[in-house]
């Protein structure tokens, strides 16, 4: 690991001032690993864990604000999240291990980088790690890679579970810039598709600090489910994951639906076409299958990941069945 200087920020102003030419560190579960591998080589680290951004609280309009530095485990088990956004609780608890969830923060979860093996192997070309060197995965071992939204430059997937639920729940990311200016980024505009610039995972400006994540009031608490499909039963990244949420009337007609996918794209993938296919219909397996087809209509397989398209469709159907509940209403 390269030597780095280390400082502690006392407040957000302090952090963005110190962070202008540094990396922020909080949980460190991804950054420190990347530093050990020589993928991230910051000269300065700013410890932001002592900033007062650790609370989960109700906001005006019935929503909830989640501090960027609240730990994943505390967020998942906060009464406001468990009661109002059980989809987020499930998604967080589907990720990593209890130890890592105790360490990882919410802001850091958004900032984690792909686990593409070629990104991690500094002996191999990778456009995300070293722009314009080429993509080793596109013609390499790509079983874990993207089937939606990929480009010739990059076929990596975003690894987060939490972010899939946040995409489904229309979260907003609040950030503060180096000049103290604050702005809000709708969740689906936060992460990027790879295009020609896969080195950029998200739309944060240099030095910007995530301060909180806001969730609007949700009608989905009673009918939602996070399904994660992986190579082993626990403590593995998703091959495919689905965040499904429904609001239905008394007759079981779907008023609103949310479907987001993990493990299939460079960003948490909001399946808007699936949501359209569900809206106004009576909840049931046939309708869920139509939605699954719509979600995967644009999917394109690489050499080893064609199974993700069928798996994704089945996972969507199963997640919607679980979300709808035993009576489908």
């Amino acid at each position: 690991m390269r030597p780095f200087s280390f400082s502690r920020a006392a407040n957000a102003d302090d952090a963005v001032r110190l962070g202008a030419d540094a990396k922020f560190i909080a949980g460190g579960t991804n950054l420190l690993d990347l530093m050990k591998e020589g993928i991230e080589t910051p000269e300065k680290l700013v410890d932001i864990t002592r900033l007062p951004m650790t609370t989960v609280s109700a906001i005006r309009g019935g929503g909830v604000s989640i501090g960027a530095l609240a730990r994943n485990s505390d967020t998942a088990n906060h009464p406001l999240i468990r009661q109002g956004y059980p989809l987020l609780t499930q998604a967080i608890l589907a990720g990593a291990s209890a130890q890592i969830r105790n360490m990882a923060t919410n802001g850091g979860n958004l900032m984690q980088r792909t686990r593409c093996a070629y990104f991690y192997d500094i002996a191999m070309p990778c456009n995300k790690r070293a722009p314009n060197t080429g993509c080793s995965a596109k013609e390499g071992l790509n079983r874990h890679h993207a089937v939606l939204g990929w480009s010739a430059a990059c076929v990596a997937t975003h690894p987060s579970d939490m972010c899939v639920a946040l995409a489904a729940l229309d979260a907003v990311v609040k950030v503060r810039g180096a000049n103290g200016a604050e702005r809000s980024i709708p969740f689906n505009d936060f992460h990027r598709l790879p295009g020609d610039n896969p080195e950029r995972d998200n739309n944060l400006a240099p030095g910007e600090l995530i301060t909180s994540i806001e969730l609007p009031k949700s009608p989905f608490a009673a009918k939602s489910y996070y399904l994660k499909v992986r190579d082993r039963a626990s403590y593995a990244f998703a091959l495919v994951s689905v965040a499904a949420a429904l609001e239905t009337d008394k007759a079981g007609r779907i008023l609103q639906a949310r479907v987001a996918l993990g493990g299939v794209a460079h960003k948490p993938w909001r399946a808007v076409e699936a949501e359209k296919a569900l809206t106004g219909k009576k909840a049931g397996e046939a309708v869920f299958k139509e939605a699954a087809e719509a979600a995967m209509k644009e999917a394109r397989a690489l050499e080893h990941n064609g199974f993700k398209i069928d798996l994704g469709k089945r996972a969507i159907v199963r997640a919607l069945i679980r979300a709808a509940g035993p009576d489908g209403k």
Binding site: F4, P86, Q99, S234
Partner: protein, 222 residues
């Protein structure tokens, strides 16, 4: 002064390096930890030429320890190389195996992915700090009684993890296999599925899992 130091050799990547290590029999004074070019962490004498050193105080198993650290040193290396607390194990060093699990402010934490520099003022409990004198912690007793190990390398991490798990269950924290997270109350009863899911961050290559589950199940009964 010579007798205040002992010469210790460590091997790393085929080369043997000698360095001086301060004998801190009385536990007084700061331990200086430096990183070699090879990546190995060594306890070193006196001030360092390394550019980025930092002084922190960490309470480890009930005792305040003053550490003068290369900023790159992880909590795991500080424990093992600096303080001779070799109970916590280095398995993968990348947060994938759980052998390095310790409790930081009572919560299970991977010491290999924690910078010691970030532990200033924190309370760390390692497997060495669980027993009360000769009286083993109930989780330790259960691992012995149920043979929750074979080679034993992952065991300190498994035990620290299980100790924290008991508190998480008392708190009513949910897991991915907990049914409806909206209705979970305190003092959660752990099924075998719950134990397996909640212990999944600790890998056992010998495959002692059935006995680990049995040990954790037993502790909960007590």
């Amino acid at each position: 002064m010579k007798e205040d130091f002992e010469s210790v050799e460590v091997s790393f990547e085929g080369s043997r390096r000698s360095f001086l290590k301060q004998v801190s029999a009385a536990g007084l004074g700061a331990v200086t930890l430096r990183m070699l070019e090879s990546g190995a962490v060594v306890a070193a004498e006196g001030a360092s030429e390394a550019p980025d050193m930092l002084a922190v105080t960490v309470n480890i198993n009930g005792k305040d320890q003053a550490l003068n650290l290369d900023t790159r040193v992880t909590l795991l290396d500080a424990l093992r190389e600096g303080l001779d607390l070799t109970g916590s194990k280095k398995g993968c060093d990348h947060g994938q195996c759980g052998a390095c699990t310790v409790l930081v402010d009572g919560r299970r934490t991977l010491s290999c992915l924690t910078l010691a520099a970030m532990c200033d003022g924190k309370k760390v409990t390692t497997v060495e700090g669980l027993a009360k004198g000769e009286e083993l912690h109930p989780v330790q007793k259960a691992f012995v009684a149920f043979d929750g190990l074979q080679c034993g390398y992952c065991t300190p991490g498994q035990i620290c993890s299980a100790v924290a798990l008991m508190q998480e269950a008392r708190n009513g924290d949910a897991s991915y296999v907990t049914g409806n997270v909206r209705t979970v109350g305190k003092n959660l009863k752990l099924t075998d599925d719950e134990i397996r899911e909640r212990m999944s961050g600790n890998i056992c290559r010998c495959g002692a899992y059935p006995n680990i589950v049995a040990a954790v199940r037993e502790v909960q009964k007590v």
